[in-house]
């Protein structure tokens, strides 16, 4: 089974860098899949953790170089947030090498390809992410079942986007709604 890698790329630098790698036909492993975010600071720690429990073997967050952020200071926040997250991963007993933070500009297509190849190799060395992948699912699913009643109640309100099969993506919101109700 090849490793699976999720890459969060900011729209202005790293995503453009990935596009440049494409235009320049610079190959990198196909397990790397990119999610476009406006700024690296949009990447919530929860997204990274979610990827790991869903079975991603590596997550890489890419942004503009410090000082070049399209939103001025966004990537500084990313840096702080990810540094804290590295600590959390270690605390969880997960190899910190499964997460990486990189600054890749729109002109660094080669750097993008090299970074992705390097990171994939690094994650391959660690092997599949067995420790957490899927493990939390049972818990999450149990929670989903418990909150299903609440979910159907709110279903009318959000009939357009909350679907029975989609309940677990909504679980954060449901829990929050529940919490709000409790208060």
């Amino acid at each position: 089974m090849p490793v699976n890698i999720v890459a969060f790329c900011c729209n202005w630098c790293s995503y453009a860098g990935a596009d440049l790698a494409g235009t320049s036909r610079l190959a990198y492993p196909s397990q790397v899949k990119i999610i476009r975010v406006p700024c690296s600071c949009r990447v919530d720690e929860a997204f990274v953790l979610r990827a790991f429990i869903r079975g991603a073997d590596g997550v890489i967050v890419c942004g503009c170089h410090l000082g070049d952020c399209h939103y001025m200071t966004g990537n500084h926040h990313t840096k702080q947030r990810m540094e804290a997250l590295f600590g959390l991963l270690e605390f969880m007993g997960m190899e910190r090498e499964r997460l990486r933070l990189e600054w890749i500009s729109a002109s660094e297509g080669a750097k993008f390809a090299d970074t992705m190849a390097g990171f994939t190799a690094q994650v391959e060395k660690l092997g599949k992410n067995e420790r957490y992948a899927g493990k939390c699912f049972e818990a999450a699913d149990a929670e989903t079942t418990n909150t299903e009643a609440t979910d159907t109640e709110t279903a009318d309100v959000e009939a357009m986007d909350v679907e029975a099969t989609d309940a677990e993506t909504a679980d954060t919101e449901t829990t929050n709604t529940k919490a709000a109700e409790d208060i």
Binding site: N4, Y15, G22, T23, L26, Y28, R42, R54, G55, T165
Partner: protein, 676 residues
């Protein structure tokens, strides 16, 4: 929800590596991963009549070139025919054609934000060689896009009305030029200047390089034009105190300081100046080389030509007695009771032209600037050689009024000096104005020896190198490569100790006058103005452009434009060009009645927000505040200020803040789809 997926071949660009037909087929294989299983629960060929609460791909197709007219028509037709509520286009980068496809969706009556792109060209077919791997990845990316689009909410760009009035901060040549250009385009402009007259630093200069035309002769007509222009309102002796709002709708509070003189009654005769007993106040315009009275007109060509009472020095304001100027004033314009006036006005755009100052030389003790009267700065030299200056344009030493036999210029005083006392950058104008000063001396006093200590002579600019060569070759100005270590006052002369790097030896000689080319820095108030405008400044305090190459006159804050030295060292032609460019950009906004705003902005859920305020600190645009919301303390986002970075959404601990178009649920769904 009925979703349509369109797969582009892009000729062979995608088709050669990704099995497009297979992709178009496989996206239809249900997309309903079960809640109890990690693997996707594949339900083959979802029927088009699936219940509306279930998301299904009801239409999928591949096409040679989706961006072409036929491809777009295929999308719009399918939206209408199949009643699609969401569209995924598997094609090139969204940076390339997202706008194209969203417009097409809009034409078919679908909200453009219900369309997502799966980038299967730049990020798939072009970087992977293996057809199976590429097709698998393309499917994965398509599924992520489907997952995202099914959670997409229709978004509607907002609209702001544009206040058809511009605020120009700073009345130097940059501000004057910008104000004139905007006014000429037919828009009202308020020009705010801190000092009693517009004109700025350029008014102090004698001649301008490299043409040696007189600075006042080219500046004063512009000053008069600005003052008399029907669309320009001058606020001199005024300061911007507060700025709020956003592009199209700024509100600024301007403090008009009390002049003590009724500007409408005053005729500018100057009788009051003659009557004033306080005559020993250092004249700022003459760089302190002459004195002025407490009621004063900064310089002869001042606009407006109306005196101002300097309350710090006026005998009446200090001791409560005097009022001699009032007695001397025939039109009865003197008004001691005048008070500061606050004006609040709305503006669509703001131009920041706050200018520069030479740095203070306190930390440069080795040049003896504070110890010797004959060590002066370049700006003081401008006044010394200016026909309207304290010596009437005669080159006389400040100490004894003698014509100097030798003048020494020292370059880069504080410029290109990475130590704490200096500035790491090149001040850009010093090499040229020093060559100008040298030529001006040589023209008046050919017998006076002129030497220039330099690190490098930098002359990039039209006719600049020729001008410098003229100083060396035609006028015999001696250029010595090296830095001066010490200037020592000695029997009425000055001893220079320096290093001559080309001769590789010590240089020790005596001179009569030393002129220091002090580095330039942003004017003292630039920081304050930058904070008010939420306009970022660089490490040296100069206002930063939104993009150094492609958006050189815009600040990162929408609706704020930059020009002149406030943005970085530059000479007069560059300043004027930049001012006109800033004006042009400003006019571009003022021409519009309404501005369309990006709907992908942050939005706070007031029911969930606990008012912790973490998001407020994260936002670089000051878009989040607890004012204006339904409840106190609970934050709300000003969508006109928000640029949509999403930092606040990630920072919010209670899940109250979300970014529209990139919501928590959407990104989580993408993550899930990619990890399957």
């Amino acid at each position: 929800m009925r979703i349509g997926v369109f797969v582009c071949h892009c000729g062979n660009n995608i088709k050669a590596t990704v099995d497009v037909a297979l992709l178009a087929e496989r996206v239809r294989e249900g997309f309903l991963w079960g809640a109890s299983s990690v693997s996707p629960s594949v339900s083959p060929s979802v029927s088009p009549s699936a219940s509306p609460s279930v998301t299904s791909v009801v239409f999928s197709a591949d096409y040679m070139y989706l961006c072409a007219e036929g491809g777009q028509k295929m999308i719009t037709d399918a939206i209408t025919e199949h009643g699609l509520e969401g569209v995924v286009v598997c094609a090139c980068s969204p940076r390339m054609h997202e706008a194209t496809f969203r417009k097409a969706a809009q034409r078919a009556g679908l909200n453009p934000y219900k369309l997502e792109i799966a980038n299967i060209r730049e990020q798939c077919s072009w970087v992977h060689a293996d057809k199976k791997a590429a097709t698998d990845k393309a499917l994965s990316l398509a599924k992520a896009a489907i997952a995202k689009v099914k959670l997409a909410k229709p978004l509607f760009p907002g609209e702001n009305t544009v206040e058809k009035r511009a605020l120009v901060i700073g009345g130097g040549i940059a501000g004057i030029q910008a104000a004139l250009d905007i006014a000429e385009a037919g828009f009202a402009v308020d020009l705010v200047e801190k000092t009693p007259s517009i004109g700025g630093k350029m008014a102090q200069l004698d001649k301008t390089f490299p043409t040696l035309d007189c600075s006042a002769c080219i500046l004063t007509p512009k000053m008069v034009e600005a003052a008399s222009h029907e669309n320009i309102t001058l606020h001199t002796y005024s300061e911007v105190e507060k700025v709020e709002g956003f592009v199209g709708s700024f509100t600024a509070v301007i403090r008009k300081k009390a002049r003590g003189v009724n500007i409408k009654k005053c005729t500018g005769c100057g009788d009051c100046l003659a009557a004033c007993p306080m005559k020993k106040i250092p004249n700022e315009f003459e760089s302190g080389m002459a004195n002025r009275t407490a009621i004063y007109i900064p310089f002869a060509q001042a606009v407006p030509n109306v005196p101002v009472i300097d309350r710090n020095h006026c005998a009446y304001f200090k001791n409560g007695k005097c009022k001699r100027c009032e007695g001397a004033c025939q039109p009865k314009a003197i008004d001691f009771s005048q008070e500061d006036e606050l004006i609040a006005e709305r503006y669509g755009v703001i131009v920041a032209a706050t200018g520069y100052e030479p740095i203070a030389l306190d930390a440069f003790g080795e040049y003896g600037y504070h110890d010797n009267k004959d060590v002066i700065t370049s700006l003081e030299f401008e006044r010394l050689t200016n026909a309207s200056g304290p010596t009437g344009g005669k080159l006389l030493r400040p100490s004894d009024g003698r014509v100097p036999k030798r003048v020494t210029f020292i370059q880069c005083v504080g410029s290109r000096d990475a130590t704490a006392r200096g500035k790491p950058y090149c001040s850009k104008v010093c090499c040229m104005y020093t060559a100008k000063h040298a030529i001006l001396i040589k023209e008046k006093h050919p017998e006076t020896d002129v030497e220039v200590f330099y690190i490098d002579v930098r002359t990039p600019g039209k006719s600049f190198e020729e001008f410098y060569r003229r100083a060396v070759e035609a006028y015999g100005v001696r250029y010595i490569k090296g830095q001066v270590g010490k200037v020592i006052g000695e029997n009425g002369s000055l001893r220079i100790q320096a290093m001559d790097m080309l001769e590789n030896g010590r240089y020790d000689s005596v001179t009569d006058l030393v002129v220091l080319a002090a580095a330039v820095e942003p004017s003292a108030d630039t920081k304050k103005i930058a904070r008010m405008l939420a306009a970022p400044a660089d490490v040296n305090g100069f206002l930063s452009e939104a993009h150094p190459k492609l958006r050189p006159v815009e600040s990162a804050t929408a609706g704020v434009f930059l020009c002149g030295m406030a943005n970085g060292p530059k000479d007069i032609p560059e300043t004027v060009a930049q001012a006109s460019a800033a004006a042009c950009k400003a006019i571009g906004i003022l021409m519009k009645d309404k501005l369309v705003t990006n709907p992908c902005t942050a939005k706070a859920d007031e029911d969930l927000c606990n008012g912790c305020g973490l998001c407020v600190g994260v936002c670089p645009y000051g878009a989040i505040s607890s004012e204006g919301g339904a409840f106190p303390r609970v934050v709300c986002v000003n969508s006109a200020l928000c640029q949509g970075c999403g930092g606040c959404a990630a920072a919010c601990p209670s899940g109250a803040m979300d970014l529209q178009g990139f919501s928590h649920r959407q990104i989580t769904a993408e993550v899930d789809a990619l990890c399957l």
